[in-house]
Subunit: 191 residues, 2 copies
DNA sequence: ATCCCCGGTTGAACAAGTTCAACTTTTTTG
DNA sequence: CAAAAAAGTTGAACTTGTTCAACCGGGGAT
């Protein structure tokens, strides 16, 4: 039952009536994404938001110089969206790619926008979700400024050991904002 | 009329009835903060959220090694809060200090929490506000990973020329995540 | 089974940013 | 106004992280 995971996730964020939760989640459709396939490609306009039931995704952007930068990884129980493109219907700066065969629940934009209006607790759900995410992003920036790449690497693998297992060093390096060569040297220095 | 600026700011975020806006903003109390005084100190628990009417603030944290890191500056028309401490009532990691004599509108925690429940459009207001802020923080992290300090400095002064004028180089350096000595060398190289 | 492509490793030269210390200039305060 | 404090500058030595190029090894596609 993939919907149980979603419902549980919502329950951990806000108190919401059984009825509201059922109605809200009923708009999500399951979708299978094969390894290496894209849920969203840079340049396209995002029409959906997603919740990962199984598998793992990488959300990254490629800049003018061709550098890949990973914003975050989304494994089971994580949300997946390009807020900017979804909200403003502008071309996305993000790529969302499956790192392994994955299962997601998808809600489309039209449905979500109308649910904001018809189920007030959905506003609260996302207010709380964004609020939590904002704190995490602020912490990450400070961590980037105050800690060395080595420290950030250690904290990352300690904090997300299950996710780290699914990732190549290239992915981790692009998340930490360093080259994969340098990450290799960091790992060597840790022995 | 300081409340007009606040009302205008809200109107730019969401559509809200005259009545709701009036009721919501009526809970904000004006407060004067003198230059160098603190609206919040690291270690204390935040009981308020604020909106800057006049002046300028710096929101920063001091880490274990004694490094100051500036999360953001808040001049007129900006919101000012420690979301984490306000939400979870945990000791704050942030300092909020006035860089010049300033005027803010303050809402206390009890009032805000009850307004979330009594005025549904307040949920929406903050959902949209946090959503926008989240996009900005994601962009800032990518910018930090993909651009040099020199590039980030130039973009900062171009994007916020009016704020940059009020800041010392130390403040700007701690926002960019570099030492003030290095910022001095960057500025020299730009002549 | 084979090929090859991709991920990871290593080294050397280099660039970006830090540290510390000494000094000058500007701002604050009594 | 004077004195002191804070902000900014500069240089030299150092650390952190990058770039490029060469090499190794294993897993996927055919």
């Amino acid at each position: 039952m993939p919907y149980n995971l979603l419902k549980q996730n919502i329950n951990n964020l806000v108190e919401m009536s059984e009825e509201d939760i059922n109605r809200f989640t009923s708009y999500f459709k399951p979708r299978i994404i094969k390894k290496k396939d894209f849920l969203l490609r840079q340049g396209n306009v995002s029409k959906f938001e997603g919740f990962v039931v199984e598998g793992c995704f990488r959300v990254f952007t490629i800049d003018d110089k061709g550098n890949e930068n990973t914003l975050y990884f989304a494994a089971s129980d994580w949300w997946l969206m390009d807020i900017d493109s979804f909200t403003n219907q502008t071309p996305s700066n993000l790529n969302i790619q499956a790192l392994e065969d994955s299962k997601v629940l998808i809600i489309n934009r039209t449905d979500k926008l109308s649910l904001y209006q018809t189920i007030p607790s959905v506003e609260k759900l996302f207010r709380v979700m964004f609020q939590k995410a904002l704190v995490a992003w602020q912490r990450r920036l400070v961590s980037n400024h105050c800690q060395t790449a080595k420290e950030r690497y250690q904290i990352f693998v300690e904090t997300y050991p299950h996710i780290a297992l699914k990732l190549t060093d290239k992915h981790i390096a692009s998340y930490l904002g360093i080259t994969h060569e340098f990450l290799s040297k960091i790992k060597k220095s840790l022995n």
